[in-house]
Amino acid sequence: METLFANLALGFSVAFSFENLTFALLGAFIGTAIGVLPGIGPVATISLLLPITFGMSPTTAIIMLAGIYYGSQYGGSTTAILLNLPGEVSSVVTVIEGYKMARNGRAGAALATAALGSFFAGSVATVVVAASGPLLTSVALSFGPADYFSLMFLGLVISAVLAQGSIVKGIGMVVLGVGLGLVGTDVQTGQQRFTFGVPELSDGVGFVAIAMGMFGIAEIILNLERPESRNVMTNKVGSLFLTREEFRRAVPSVLRGTALGTVLGILPGGGASLSAFGSYMVERKVSKYRHLFGTGAIEGVAGPEAANNAAAQSSFIPLLTLGIPANAVMALMVGALIIQGIQPGPRMVEAQPDLFWGLICSMWVGNLMLVIINLPMIGMWVKLLEVPYRHLYPAIMIFCSIGIYSINNNVFDVYLMVLFGIFGYLCSKLKLEGAPLLIGFVLGPMMEEHLRRAMLLSRGDVMVFVERPISAAMLAIAAIALLAMLLPGLRSGKEKAMAEGG
């Protein structure tokens, strides 16, 4: 307990340094902005800003990037409530009840519920991260290469199972990502693999090029082909204060949402959007006021908004303790850390206590900032919503272009981004998910390394994966997850949940 306080004291001293405060605020600000704006999400933004962070200290860089992620969860709800349009995928379900509340003249109350619910959930999840981090880390340190391989395998399976749409296609994208991750120089033999003699590929396919192409550029084209219809309820935000009745109804939903989001956020492939869907389903089943759903029930805003923010925080747990990304944003964080020369994994708590505890404390500080950014300054974000998309996409496009060029000062990366832009567009037309590909891409090289080491240690005996209890347990869970999704009942349940949510 004492060490926890000492660690938190260290964390707060890091988080409250002028530089880190500034960049946490900047991250929260940018996060809210892109959360509010439909058509640009945290994955595209973080990959966009990744090159800029190279010059910063690792801690500052991660603090800012994290701020963008959880900031976007706050901003997304504003658009959902005022515009009947999700600002982020994770606020898709907030639209359903939130917009109805706005039409009932309770837009202010809905916004306040979303922001305060998110703040509560964020605070709780931050405590969970702080408490579970060192605990899990000590477990993870006893992991051998075989255990790591199985853990990553499990992560990939779960991220594919939880992805929207077909599981086989999800796993296909994961495996394709693993394959893409193997492009470049083989670490052990120095042999060039799949590089076609292109020197730029010898370091592997640019991670930022994939993320920007598939999540930034492809998204622009998808947005352009959809006609824009906006109907901002600018002048009807109303009082931000909740009535006593509304407060009483929101509290249990926030609590349930927080619990659900914290758990689902840890799961690979879970993250913010799945938690919001899950929470909405739970609220509709168990809330005392479920008969009011569809008429602007505050539970339908409080639960999902708490859940998505809790998940945004708790998805840092696998990253910080095991070095395994739970979703596409965390995959970007892995990329950011590796570029900074830090190998994410269980040794990070010991080797980089500043980063670990500073990030955790800055999350709480950032959440506090976000309540202030989002509630009193709501008028500014409403103004931002009036910027039409036709003015926005050229800006996104050139920021992507300059950003990708500046990484290596090489136009090759620009063309690579174009290539992945086409591929991303193709994928979304064929309902192939981009997020599993990104996770597979990050995990692929790590899996190869652990597989090689495990097999070397076991002298080529595959049984090592089932003889080691940790590894065997991971593989068993993965098998159960796969088998469970083959059962028709569960599968249709998942599809139904997704369909109702979307």
Binding site: I217, R390, L432
Partner: protein, 150 residues
Amino acid sequence: MKINQKDLLAGLVLLAFAVAGLWLNLDHTLGTARRMGPGYMPMLAFGVLLFLSVTIIGLSLFNGPDPLERWAWRELFLILAAICVFGLILEKAGMIVTLAVTIAISTLADRTHKPLGVLGLILFLVALCWFVFIQELDIRIPVWPTYFGP
């Protein structure tokens, strides 16, 4: 038989990747399970992908119908062309000129743009990029045309 066209094509795309990957992997030594060569993991990954893509194609013959959607070729072409032009002329023409050209091309993708609005947008974004990337971040990128220079 209700063919799911999206899944069928998705399966074919993944199949193409798997076959290409396995074929290119012929150049790499596989090694043994104990001492894996550079070709071992790619063989596993693309082998699994081959199996999955065939499964997707097989399933797609029954779980349809899900017809293909129309592509926004015009928008796709204009946006990608704008970025390619960015890559082509940046190092010669410098950031300012390149951005103006790139933005101008990209605005063609949305028919609601008006000439004066485009001009304003170009001026605003060029100024913004200059401030953010040159003034604040000081990234190494040519600002002015160097074509006629030494």
